[in-house]
Symmetry: C2
Subunit: 342 residues, 2 copies
């Protein structure tokens, strides 16, 4: 059932029917009622393509998920974020298209998205410390919101981010309060800004407590179990072993746990570990450990807020720039304990 059929069926013009359905004021209430009824009965839904062609609005938001290489696993954070955003889009009649972008040909992907008229705006995921995408999108003229921030940017942009720096400062302070001085930071790829900020937070706390920042105790790479395992294994063998680990995701923490077990140590007793994870954490608190909070998925909330921000921006471009900093309330300790060297 399309508009033409519906209008013929009603003995009205397409114009009137369209107006009635879209809430234009110049339609009499009686016809509006009639039209709405018939539309519901006939299960009429306006054709999105036609609508978007006529209005010039795509009624679609694009999410571009970067994947470093073909075989990289997709960060489950995106799923939660997208779930939140999609909720908002649905409310406003928008669709959500997903593009997986290998980082190499990102530029052409954004350009093609824009040129194809496929979206009214995009959410930019996984920003690096410095982001060529910002300039690119500005040049193209596509509204966007960054999920995360960009440390080195001289021009304003819309963003929503967790307070990674503060969370890691807190976590580090917690370990210091427990008496630790040799704390290992097993961090994500520090060319990605979230990891960079986490590192800064870690260093903030160390510096404030006049503790030395030892490069040897800091590692940065893709957050995999293997990375956690290998790094922790090596660190547990060194002469200057850490007494505590700060893990930048629960996946990496699994590896750390494995290494600790293999070294014949007990987590939470011989070695302390604090895990930070903004995603819904699958870990419950084992009991004896401090834990900041553990709400369900603040990432989903971030998705909701980002989508909202983007739609507002599209609606009214003068609302610029917007941004929101969420407290990273999922920072939690899986296991902490007295400082002790292996």
């Amino acid at each position: 059932m399309n508009l033409k059929q519906l209008s013929e069926h009603l003995g009205l013009s397409q114009t009137t029917v369209s107006r009635a359905l879209n809430g234009y004021p110049e339609v009499s209430e009686s016809t509006r009622k009639r039209v709405q009824l018939a539309a519901a009965e006939g299960n009429y839904r306006p054709n999105l393509r036609a609508m978007s062609l006529a209005t010039g609005k795509a009624m679609t938001i694009g999410h571009v998920i970067p994947v470093a290489d073909q075989h990289d696993v997709v960060n489950p954070i995106f799923a939660e974020f997208v779930a939140g955003a999609s909720q908002v889009y649905k409310q406003h009649g928008y669709e959500l298209t997903l593009t997986i972008a290998e980082t190499r040909n990102e530029e052409s992907i954004y350009r093609s998205i824009a040129a194809r008229g496929a979206v009214d705006g995009v959410i930019v995921h996984s920003p690096k410390r410095t982001e060529p995408r910002l300039a690119l999108l500005r040049e193209i003229g596509l509204p966007f919101v960054v999920h995360g921030r960009v440390s080195e940017s001289d021009t304003p942009y819309n963003w929503i981010d967790m307070n990674n720096r503060r969370a890691f400062k807190q976590a580090t302070q917690l370990l210091i309060d427990l008496g630790h001085t040799d704390i290992a930071l097993i961090n994500g790829d520090e060319s990605l800004n979230f990891a960079w900020l986490r590192r800064l937070g870690f260093e903030d706390a160390m510096r404030e407590n006049k503790l030395p920042i030892k490069k040897a105790l800091m590692a940065s790479a893709d957050l995999t179990e293997t990375f956690g395992y290998q790094t922790a294994s090596a660190l547990l063998k060194c002469s200057d072993c850490p007494t505590a680990f700060l893990a930048s995701s629960y996946v990496v923490a699994l590896g750390i746990r494995r290494a600790i077990g293999q070294a014949g140590l007990q987590m939470g007793k011989d070695i302390s570990v604090i895990i930070h994870d903004d995603e819904l954490s699958y870990f419950d608190n084992d009991g004896a450990i401090p834990q900041f909070t553990a709400t369900r998925s603040s990432v989903r909330e971030a998705g909701i807020l980002a989508a909202d921000m983007l739609l507002k921006q599209i609606d009214d471009p003068t609302l610029f720039p917007q941004n929101t900093l969420l407290e990273s309330h999922l920072t939690m300790g899986l296991s902490t304990g007295p400082a002790k060297r292996a």
Copy 2:
């Protein structure tokens, strides 16, 4: 830059330009070259909406991800699957739109997707044991591929699935071979077909070995850490304790591990646990344990195959029904060991 501008710029008709770009044979090679060059220079990309309006094809595939309730976490499996599928779509010039559907209003979501002309086909995720969606989609006339199978369906449909039944039979057999007779199955929600099939696989092995199937040792619910913990805790206190656990996801296994630890037992020594997970598993093999295989994300491969199947179907509806059964090669033992009762 749109077709009109491009054609004017070239002094050709829109038709010719369109034909040249779309590879129609009746265009002379020389003009085709010229057109292609100009298009590349002008950074011309055909407007998807217009194209789809003109052809009646949406050039878009929809993925509908069901989420049981608002606060449910999104299964990370979807992210991997979608990543695989998106790869295929890109190759064929298709877009991918994502819809998160609360299970309550699924029907209206599918109907509205179809009526809006937004997609040429859909991938159906998380099929239940019996699926009203199949009939619905058939009625609507929307091509679809089910990611998973439906046990109770009397009409054919396209599907791609992992061999869950076989995997669980194997895993169970492995435990039986190690001497276990009281094996607990911590399974997903058995109204979902994947969980149902896993249970059948478990029962297959038990029956073949003439072992009793004890209802008390089988649990079924959403695969959360908490579910694993609570169920395992309870089971470890009963008079008729299991000596082994078969966990239907690594998340649930984390809970089981916690319960085992709290009971003062050692995993892999006092109690055996086998984890099945089709997603990329974050666990490495701890060493002493049998492990079927551990390739990276067979789920992504499933996504690729499903997308391929759907596009083929759209292209040629006579290719019906298609299906593929993938061996669930990520079944792996995190820890198995001698049978012993707590």
